[in-house]
Symmetry: C2
Subunit: 213 residues, 2 copies
């Protein structure tokens, strides 16, 4: 015999997978037409449903953007958290920066939504943003492994790496005019910060994950 709770579970799973299918179609469409050109009519057409049906799953267009953001942020956090082959802290920092750059340049629309924030009235909800905070915490950990804990230096790190990537994406989307500078940039950064922070030893335990931003 089938219990009520199980039926409810099925329903929820079905509903979630239908939502996922719509989000998937939305991403496919956004990659073709650009993020701003996402229309609910086209989205419904590609997803094989009628336009009003979209509203059975999402309250508004921005709710769709939010789900797209959440999916992208999860991909981001997962990708950055995958194991690294190297062990030397400075190599780890280079590898993380390169992975970040590769993640960004491999899907420009995703990069735009996640990091550029140029969809008119849209801002991600805290839930959708949460995975991105995970990834940022990971970056802090890698910096800490290199003896870098000063907030100023963490900020400098984000500026340096996002600066390289944004120049790359904007001015040479399929080349490596800026991403090819990552290794040198990291060396410059490490030399500067480790000198400034007095080549502190790596702390035995990683710092707690408070105050991310």
């Amino acid at each position: 015999m089938i219990k009520q709770a199980e039926i409810s579970g099925w329903r929820q799973a079905r509903r979630r997978s239908a939502r996922d299918a719509i989000v998937e179609a939305a991403w496919a469409l956004a990659r073709e037409e650009g993020l701003a050109g996402l229309s609910l009519r086209e989205l419904a057409r590609q997803a094989g449903i009628s336009p009003p049906t979209v509203y059975a799953y999402f309250d508004s267009k921005n709710a769709i953007y939010d789900a797209m953001f959440g999916a992208a942020a999860t991909q981001f956090a997962d990708r950055m958290a995958e194991p690294y082959q190297c062990e030397d802290p400075s190599e780890l920092l280079v590898a993380a920066a390169m992975r970040f750059a590769e993640f960004c340049t491999s899907d420009l629309e995703r990069y735009q939504l996640l990091f550029q924030r140029c969809v008119p009235g849209f801002e991600p909800s805290p839930q959708s943003y949460a995975p991105a905070l995970r990834a940022l915490a990971g970056a802090r950990d890698v910096l800490a492994l290199n003896g870098i804990t000063d907030t100023r230096h963490v900020n400098l790190w984000t500026a340096l790496i996002t600066g390289l990537v944004s120049q790359q994406v904007a001015n040479d989307p399929h080349g490596d005019r800026w991403t090819g500078l990552i290794e040198e940039s990291v060396a410059m950064f490490l030399t500067h910060c480790q000198r400034a922070e007095g080549r502190r030893p790596v702390p035995a335990a990683l710092p707690p994950e408070g105050a991310l931003s």
Copy 2:
């Protein structure tokens, strides 16, 4: 007696000033409603004309964006070219970076149009873009004064400074969490590049202004 050429000159001047007035109104509106929210109806209303009259001066909405871009790019080049109070090359570099940051953070919409490029179907025409190239050439000159001529280092410079500014604008628009790092960043950059380029003496004559990009 009035010559035909003078009348024609008047006409052109009148036309240009009418165009300028529309562009001015467009900027005022964009600062209120956001760049993407610029509508021709509202623009006409604020400029004191009817919507179709806009088309007597601009072929399309993108032509208006282009004129807005041109005006902003001119402001940018002019501001960056104003005389500096300091003479030491490294101080000059810091001053230029700070001036750039101040220019960007003092008008976020202008920054968005000039450097973020997130208006859907719009790309600036070469004419409108030209002043920005002038400013970039100026940056190269200041770098050259510091003995930095390697293209890689010029690219690193643009990435570093735009990275600081873009983080500032995106995450702390009215504070100085990243712009406050400019002085330290420039020191880091100079130490690195001058070491790498072997503390070359400043060339007697500035390099020619070819191959900007």
